[in-house]
């Protein structure tokens, strides 16, 4: 008899249990207790200033098709890692870009469905990764997790961008494509408001 896999109810219950069994997730460079790599993963997952631009770039790449979507999940984490290494070794918080800038730029490109060539998408991914990675690396070095924290962040960036780019690239029929663009508009609008807050 063919063995049965876990039922949907069992899987959902297990997933709920896992979701409800958190360790203290002290984000923003506070230790999770699971080690510096997990500190980095948690930091990325709970920092919207990093997470949203990465998602927006992955969605932009996915919207432009498989060729773009295949490149970003490799270029962005590598650039993030390189920037993180530089930030970890550096003694000053240089290369800091304002949080509103990537939101406004990437959200605007996504909402406009900008027809960028693959080289431009790769260049944006490299710039974004280096800039945000540098800030992360510097902060991680100051807070303790150091380079291993940056490795955790880069791994999380890879997973998130791969999933997001693949999801968007695979689902573009009719309304869904409009929904991705609307999400870009929301990101751009949030970036514009954040610019206002920063100038206030």
């Amino acid at each position: 008899m063919k063995p049965r896999g876990p039922s949907a109810a069992g899987t959902i219950a297990l997933a709920l249990a896992l979701a409800l069994c958190p360790l203290p997730g002290h984000a923003h460079l506070i230790e999770t207790g699971l080690g510096p790599v997990y500190d980095g993963i948690t930091h990325f997952a709970l920092t919207p200033e990093d997470l949203i631009p990465a998602l927006a770039l992955a969605m932009l790449a996915g919207l432009r098709g498989a060729e773009h979507a295949r490149r970003v999940p490799f270029v962005l984490p590598v650039a993030w890692l390189l920037g993180g290494v530089a930030g970890t070794l550096a003694g000053a918080p240089a290369l800091v870009i304002p949080a509103w800038l990537p939101l406004l730029a990437l959200g605007g490109l996504l909402a406009a469905d900008a027809r960028l060539p693959p080289a431009a998408t790769v260049a944006i991914a490299a710039l974004l990764g280096i800039a945000l990675g540098y800030a992360n690396g510097y902060a991680m070095a100051q807070a303790g997790p150091g380079l291993r924290g940056v490795v955790g962040i880069a791994g999380a960036v890879f997973v998130v961008t791969t999933l997001a780019a693949a999801c968007v690239a695979a689902r573009q029929a009719g309304w869904i494509r409009i929904a991705w663009r609307a999400a870009g508009g929301w990101v751009a609008a949030s970036g514009l408001l954040l610019l206002g807050w920063s100038l206030r």
Binding site: S7, S190, L192, L193
Partner: protein, 198 residues
């Protein structure tokens, strides 16, 4: 012997019940910022009606207005909020918000079909008032980014609700119901206008 799915579910539920407290994200204001921003547009009837009317009108006009209008509104609304945050004065904000409900409701009621650019310009013009009035009320200690994101997402959801309601348009009764709803939004706008001057 493999445990049954009921046993697995019970075990999982037991694990959940034994879960320690989630002291996640001790940096204060993050989740609260999103929730506060999300609830803000929903808390004012003038906002709710005007934003839902944008979705209703988009649904009446069909493609491409059905997505151009709901994308235009949040972005231009954010620009209005940006102006408010910079301290740029905008006279007659409450009147503008009331007028948005009147004109958008009337457009839905009369099934007005202007050119796309005119519809987008009208929606964008009124979005500035909504953003200027409401997008700048960040409670102390909360994340500005998540507050902004919550505010914008709630606005988009209200548009989506309007579009979803507009899906009844293919039916003759639904078409009439939409026009009645537009009339209701316009009447509410008149009430808001009276209140603005009272």
């Amino acid at each position: 012997m493999r445990p049954s799915s009921a046993t697995r579910a019970f075990t999982a539920a037991s694990l959940a019940a034994l879960a320690p407290g989630a002291f996640a994200h001790v940096q204060s204001g993050q989740a609260a910022g999103f929730v506060t921003g999300f609830l803000h547009p929903v808390s004012g009837l003038d906002h709710v009606l005007a934003m839902a009317a944008v979705g209703l009108w988009g649904a009446q006009l069909g493609a491409p207005a059905i997505w151009v209008l709901p994308i235009t509104f949040p972005i231009v609304m954010a620009f209005g909020g940006f102006l408010g945050l910079l301290g740029v004065p905008l006279p007659g904000v409450e009147v503008g918000i009331a007028a948005s409900a009147i004109l958008l409701g009337t457009a839905v009621m009369t099934e007005r079909r202007p050119p796309l650019y005119a519809a987008a310009a009208l929606v964008g013009f009124f979005a500035i008032f909504h953003g200027h009035a409401h997008a700048t009320e960040l409670p102390p200690g909360q994340s500005a980014l998540l507050y902004s994101l919550g505010f914008v997402v709630a606005t988009g959801c209200l548009h989506a609700i309007g579009i979803a309601i507009g899906a009844v348009r293919p039916w003759p009764t639904g078409r009439i119901a939409l026009r009645i709803a537009g009339g209701g939004v316009g009447l509410a706008g008149l009430f808001f206008l009276w209140r603005a001057f009272a």
